[in-house]
């Protein structure tokens, strides 16, 4: 599998009354609070968790979908607590709004694994996620070195205005192209959605017909931008996306088929979360779990696409 760069365990305070570890003989219910299953990336995260948990006979996972609603996600966690789950996995919709309820669960002795997006403070057991700024930066560097080595213009299709990853992927990208004589001449909000991305790309390409590179905050919008480029009579458009989901409809396949020039894997951390849960609940090695795991990204291009796809679906 992929290696994990581990940060040093910050001496976070231990929860008030950590429950006794039940060991391999117990049965454990895990609550997975997902921010929004309507995003393929998050659905994949759920799938990864489901698949990994199937391999652990002691685990049973209940899923909740907050449908992008912070309040709903707070309620989901509260409902999990009523259900008396043994461990909480949460991929927060936003950090601050979920902080209090995550702390409440943590303080009640429930181990908490935070995925993808952090909460404030350190009242959780472990955070597993990738670094959006870094991913944006790598995307920028790829563009700067491979697609526009002599500088030039490009378009950006952004995620939902006001969402953290959209900002981070944008900021990181700017770092990546800094000083390379590359200009983002136009950008539009695709709201992470395929059809919105296409509409934005349609208009942007009309306003900037001379552009040959598009940076999209996720793969679906990127694929849509590619279609838009074809329609604008520019089949050679190079589109860089992010997410690299290892599914049929995902970005890696799109790179393999040439619809995207490249994508950066944004790992879901689902498998890692179950690994951590197993350590905590079954193996009784909770102390060995680091406070934070940053998952590495991987640049996917036509050359390595098939390999990465196979690797990510291997286990």
């Amino acid at each position: 599998g992929c290696g994990t760069t581990s940060e040093n365990t910050e001496g976070g305070q231990a929860p008030a009354q950590q429950k006794e570890c039940g060991g391999p003989d117990g049965k454990y219910t895990i609550g997975m609070s997902q921010a929004n299953v309507a995003e393929p990336y998050r659905e994949r995260m759920d799938d990864d968790i489901r698949k990994a948990a199937e391999a652990v006979p002691q685990f049973e996972v209940t899923f909740a979908d907050a449908a992008k609603d912070n309040s709903k996600q707070v309620q989901d966690v509260e409902t999990f607590m009523t259900q008396q789950i043994d461990l909480l996995v949460i991929s927060p919709n936003e950090a601050t709004p979920l902080t209090a309820v995550v702390k409440k669960a943590y303080d009640a002795g429930i181990p908490v694994i935070v995925l993808d997006r952090k909460v404030d403070g350190d009242a959780y057991t472990t955070y597993i996620g990738a670094d959006n700024v870094d991913i944006g930066k790598q995307a920028g560097e790829f563009v700067a070195t491979k697609l526009l080595p002599n500088g030039g213009n490009l378009l950006e299709i952004r995620g939902l205005a006001g969402s953290t990853p959209a900002k981070e992927r944008s900021d990181g990208f700017k770092q990546g192209i800094e000083g390379k004589n590359i200009t983002v001449v136009g950008s539009g909000d695709g709201d992470w959605e395929r059809d919105k991305g296409q509409q934005q790309a349609d208009a942007l390409l009309k306003a900037h017909p001379d552009v040959n590179v598009i940076y999209s905050h996720n793969d679906p919008m990127g694929e849509a931008a590619q279609i838009a480029a074809q329609n604008a009579g520019k089949p050679d458009m190079k589109v860089v996306g992010i997410d690299g989901l290892p599914i049929e409809a995902g970005g890696i396949k799109a790179v393999e088929a040439g619809r995207l020039a490249a994508t950066l894997v944004y790992p879901t951390g689902g498998k890692e979360a179950i690994d951590a849960a197993k350590k905590i609940l079954v193996d009784c090695q909770g102390d060995g779990v680091q406070k934070a795991q940053t998952l590495p990204t991987e640049l996917v291009t036509k050359e390595n696409a098939a390999g990465v796809y196979a690797k990510l679906n291997a286990g």
């Binding site: 449908a67 912070n70 409902t79 601050t96 006001g162």
Partner: protein, 345 residues
């Protein structure tokens, strides 16, 4: 086809024994709630012999979970009673949550001034929509559909596109600790603050609709606007005011939202308008106006809340939940049809 909600528009005194049934049907909206509640108790998972659904914490969670939509739904009830609709409430909630956060955190406002200003914004927004709809005769649906976009845009602009986190303290960039009372999910460890606010709002609105001359005007407009106008009801003024109240309540819900989450989210509250409308309609208020009650709305909101809660407690797959909630909503609304048929066939 239609049955007057006599409970609101006049006391049913002819009642006596013979129409116990009619009396029962008056509380139809509560029936659905009672049924769903009983079903929830039955299907609720148990742990150590204890019915999880009935745990007091859980019940408070239910009430709290519907309190924001509930506050919206109370305002929506008024708007729907005059035959209007307000699609903007969810966005106004988002705008208000951003507004409260920004004012408290970035602009150093006190709790009261911030709250008043945000409420005034909500009121103003509602009044403007009311003017566009009542005075210029543009359909409420379209006015508030536009208002929904506009409020969303304003929220994003005001918050610079990012959510605003609230931390408490006296330092600049921190909100007064007083505000965290709203965030206290339970006051005194017992009663959830937002639920209290919801109940207070509902009771006030219920009283308003029962005793005030204003409410007579509201019902009259919804029943027959032309007749109301000819009877001297200040139709435009009443309508504008009703939209204003709805905006005000949306802002209130937004403040509660911000307090609950310690966060002003520019994208928050989206689709809440549909939940609010659903609560109103399940509660027996007719979308054509003139008929309905706040009691029904509260029951409608709780019905949906109980349903979602017990499905989640049972770990039902979220997609299956969508199906079940959808079917139950139709069923609950269908129950309304079992009422005795009215005069006008």
């Amino acid at each position: 086809m239609t049955e007057p909600e006599q409970s609101e528009v006049g006391v049913a005194d002819g009642g006596r024994g013979r129409d116990v049934i009619a009396q029962l049907f008056k509380f139809q909206s509560l029936f659905g709630l009672v049924l769903v509640f009983i079903a929830a108790v039955i299907i609720s998972p148990r742990k150590n012999g204890e019915v999880l659904f009935l745990g007091s914490e859980n019940l408070f969670n239910v009430v709290r979970s519907v309190s924001e939509t509930g506050i919206l739904a109370v305002g929506m009830t008024l708007v729907i009673l005059i035959g209007g609709i307000d699609l903007s409430v969810g966005s106004v909630l988002g705008l208000a949550s951003v507004g409260a956060s920004v004012l408290l955190v970035e602009d150093g406002f006190g709790v009261i001034p911030a709250a008043l200003l945000v409420l005034a914004i909500g009121l103003g927004f509602g009044l403007l929509q009311g003017i566009a709809s009542a005075k210029f005769g543009i359909q409420a649906f379209i006015v508030t559909l536009a208002g929904m976009q506009i409020a969303r845009g304003l929220a994003r602009i005001w918050s610079d596109g990012q959510g605003v986190s609230i931390t408490y303290g006296d330092a600049p960039g921190q909100a007064p600790v007083l505000f965290s009372l709203l965030g206290e999910r339970t006051f005194n460890g017992l009663v959830p603050v937002p639920a209290v606010i919801f109940v207070v709002v509902a009771v006030l609105a219920g009283i308003l609709l029962r005793v005030s001359a204003f409410s007579r005007h509201i019902y009259a407009i919804g029943g027959n606007e032309k007749a109301a106008r000819l009877s001297g009801v200040p139709v435009v003024r009443v309508k504008v005011l009703v939209f204003g109240i709805c905006g005000l309540l949306a802002a209130l819900a937004g403040i509660v939202h911000a307090g609950q989450l310690n966060f002003g989210g520019p994208n928050d509250g989206s689709m809440y308008e549909l939940d609010a409308i659903a609560a109103v309609v399940i509660g027996g208020t007719s979308l054509t106006g003139g008929r309905g009650s706040v009691v029904g709305t509260v029951a409608g909101a709780l019905l949906v809340g109980v349903l979602r809660n017990v499905l989640a407690l049972n770990g039902v797959d979220p997609n299956i939940q969508l199906l079940i909630v959808g079917l139950v909503i139709v069923f609950a609304a269908g129950l309304q049809q079992l009422r005795p048929a009215s005069v006008n066939s």
